[in-house]
């Protein structure tokens, strides 16, 4: 799992990649087989250097606890990380994430799972923080300062599972067929410019946010500097990481709606803004001025999930494919229609969303 040194010595990540997502808006649980089969159908979009899944609704009995998934180089790194966790949190449960030996998965790190609540008596220097900022701070602390240890999932009643391998092999390793969830996302990675290592696989997560991404965030440098000013530290050496943190910054901290955040990521062109009615023109002009550093440049098709729903978004000139389909209460989003048909042959509607226009699906309350 060694993260290469000289992490700053790279520019960007151009990838083929495949993404898949499914949500049941009535929270009916979907078995792991579905996203696994869908991702396996898009096997050739990746090259075996990264696969992963995010699942929502998988820890219903511990839904009020923060579920931390950690990957560590060795026992020493795990112990150091655990000390940090105990400094900030009360540990209610901790155990290895269940895995099985899989021939195709080599050099797996130690993967451990903790169910946590913030300590009643918080450390002095972070006493005033809001609860979620407190959790984010702890994640950044471990990822930044504990050598060989990374938190790759930190939300409630959700979890990310990822590593180096094809997605179907990673699913086998993490025994994902044993889980059921009302939102699933999956990713098949084809890294080119950044290392294919365990932490660099998708999804990228923070709190309940998870993102899988096909494409390349060319604006990574400016996004990363912008996030740094807001205490988000990028440590995972893959461009997509910035999107996870921007979601948290824009939506949770700044209170933007998902629609507005998408318009920050993929804003309308200036000539389109010029043709808008005055009020809209003012809003979009303000968004571009205030959040210019959060704009995502370069090709992307992203699927973003949290505990309220799933959305898909393309870059504004659609340099990566994205198909959306509906069947009863389920909505599917994928790089290829065939990956949806393989798990749901009959569909009510299939369409390709417009570039820069998010497709946002909310769970019913």
């Amino acid at each position: 799992m060694k993260a290469p040194e000289r992490y700053y010595d790279f520019q960007k990540d151009i990838s083929g990649c495949g993404v898949f997502g499914v949500i049941d808006t009535k929270k009916k649980l979907i078995k792991g087989e579905m996203p696994i089969s869908a991702m396996a159908c898009m096997h050739d979009r990746g090259n075996g250097l990264g696969g992963g899944f995010a699942a929502y609704g998988i820890y219903p009995d511990l839904a009020d606890k923060y579920a931390f998934h950690l990957m560590c180089d060795n026992q020493g790194a795990l112990e150091s990380a655990e000390q940090v966790l105990k400094y900030y949190f009360t540990v209610h449960e901790s155990h290895p994430i269940p895995t099985r030996k899989v021939l195709a998965i080599k050099n797996a790190p130690l993967v451990w799972r903790y169910f946590l609540t913030p300590k009643k008596e918080r450390p002095q220097e972070v006493r005033e923080m809001g609860e979620q900022d407190y959790v984010v701070n702890a994640v950044m602390h471990i990822n930044h300062k504990v050598a060989g240890a990374f938190v790759f999932s930190s939300g409630k009643n959700m979890g990310a599972f990822k590593g180096v391998g094809f997605p179907e092999d990673i699913a086998d390793f993490f025994r994902l067929e044993e889980y059921s969830a009302y939102i699933w996302t999956g990713h098949n990675r084809f890294p080119t410019n950044t290392p294919g290592w365990w932490g660099g696989a998708h999804p990228f997560t923070l709190l309940d946010w998870s993102i899988v991404h096909n494409g390349e965030i060319s604006s990574y440098g400016i996004n990363r500097r912008y996030l740094c000013e807001h205490d988000y530290l990028c440590t995972l050496m893959t461009d997509t990481e910035v999107v996870a943190y921007e979601l948290d910054l824009l939506i949770r901290k700044h209170g933007l709606s998902k629609e507005m955040a998408c318009k920050v990521f993929a804003p309308p062109f200036w000539d389109e803004i010029a043709r808008m009615p005055k009020q809209e023109k003012d809003v979009y002009t303000a968004l571009r001025m205030v959040y210019g550093s959060a704009l995502l440049n370069g090709p992307f098709a992203i699927l973003v999930a949290d505990n309220t729903g799933l959305f898909g978004l393309n870059d504004r000139i659609k340099l990566r494919p994205l198909v959306v389909a509906e069947k009863d209460n389920m909505v599917f989003m994928s790089s290829e229609e065939s990956s949806i048909r393989v798990v749901q042959p009959e569909l009510d509607r299939v369409w390709m969303p417009k570039a820069g226009e998010p497709v946002i699906v909310h769970l019913e309350a």
Binding site: S338, W351, A355
Partner: protein, 250 residues
């Protein structure tokens, strides 16, 4: 004499499927019925000659790429890269199609019933008797016919599930320097690439459109008269081979 081969493609990896098809063609097959196709790439790719393909299911990327002659019918939607650099033949898609349909197409025809994605017909080219033609029954995404150097794009906008969107996306025909884009009805000027305008069609254009629509309607069981009942506009390049003298002055 025709020789028909039926293959159940369910769960068959694309390499095995295409190997099976090539072997059958070498053994004299002229017609394929492919059942339960789903996700297999490169079907009919680089096939040379009058071979028929009837596909039930959603084929994978690059359907009919580099093909020279086959007749391909897809009784479902298609994904990205349909007819990539195809040279001759006909592809009929009964549903919608994804991005970059007919990329760098150099001959033959592609008929699509529904909507298409982005960058359809980019880099199309024509030479002597080769005149590639794409007909889109629905609406198109951005960059339709970008850098087009030859051939015909006919955009109908009729069989779309996107009622509120313009018939063509942004940057229609940007950088084109050959060929023609016909649009049924009108297209907003702001959707058209820099320096280009939509102009009225003349009698010669209408005769061309009529000929294409006749075949298109027949293949997709549509009413040609209803398609022709609206006016058309055309978008043509404002320059011809603008860089022709760049390296080797004429």
């Amino acid at each position: 004499m025709s020789k028909k081969v039926t293959i159940d493609a369910k769960g068959v990896y694309y390499r095995q499927l295409n190997e099976q098809i090539r072997e059958a063609i070498a053994a004299g097959a002229t017609e394929f019925v492919l059942k339960n196709v789903n996700s297999q790439r490169y079907i009919a790719g680089a096939v040379d000659g009058h071979v028929k393909f009837d596909l039930d299911g959603v084929p994978g990327q690059d359907l009919g790429s580099f093909m020279r002659g086959p007749y391909v019918r897809v009784r479902a939607n298609a994904q990205d890269g349909v007819g990539n650099t195809m040279d001759d033949g006909l592809i009929v898609i009964e549903g919608l199609a994804g991005d970059v349909v007919g990329y760098a197409m150099r001959g033959g025809r592609i008929f699509i019933k529904g909507d298409v994605g982005y960058r359809v017909g980019i880099h199309m080219k024509a030479y002597m008797e080769k005149l590639p033609t794409i007909v889109i029954g629905g609406k198109a995404g951005d960059f339709l016919g970008e850098y087009m150097a030859g051939g015909i794009l006919l955009l109908l906008g009729m069989f779309s599930d996107k009622p509120s969107e313009p018939i063509a996306g942004r940057s229609l025909g940007t950088g084109m320097h050959g060929g023609v884009i016909y649009v049924r009805g009108t297209v907003p000027q702001e959707q058209i690439g820099p320096g280009l305008t939509a102009q009225p069609v003349d009698e010669a254009d209408l005769a061309v459109i009529q000929g294409i629509v006749k075949d298109y309607a027949k293949e997709l069981k549509l009413d040609a008269k209803a398609i022709m009942a609206e006016s058309f506009v055309k978008i043509r390049p404002f320059s011809h081979r603008p860089y022709g003298n760049l390296y080797v002055p004429a």
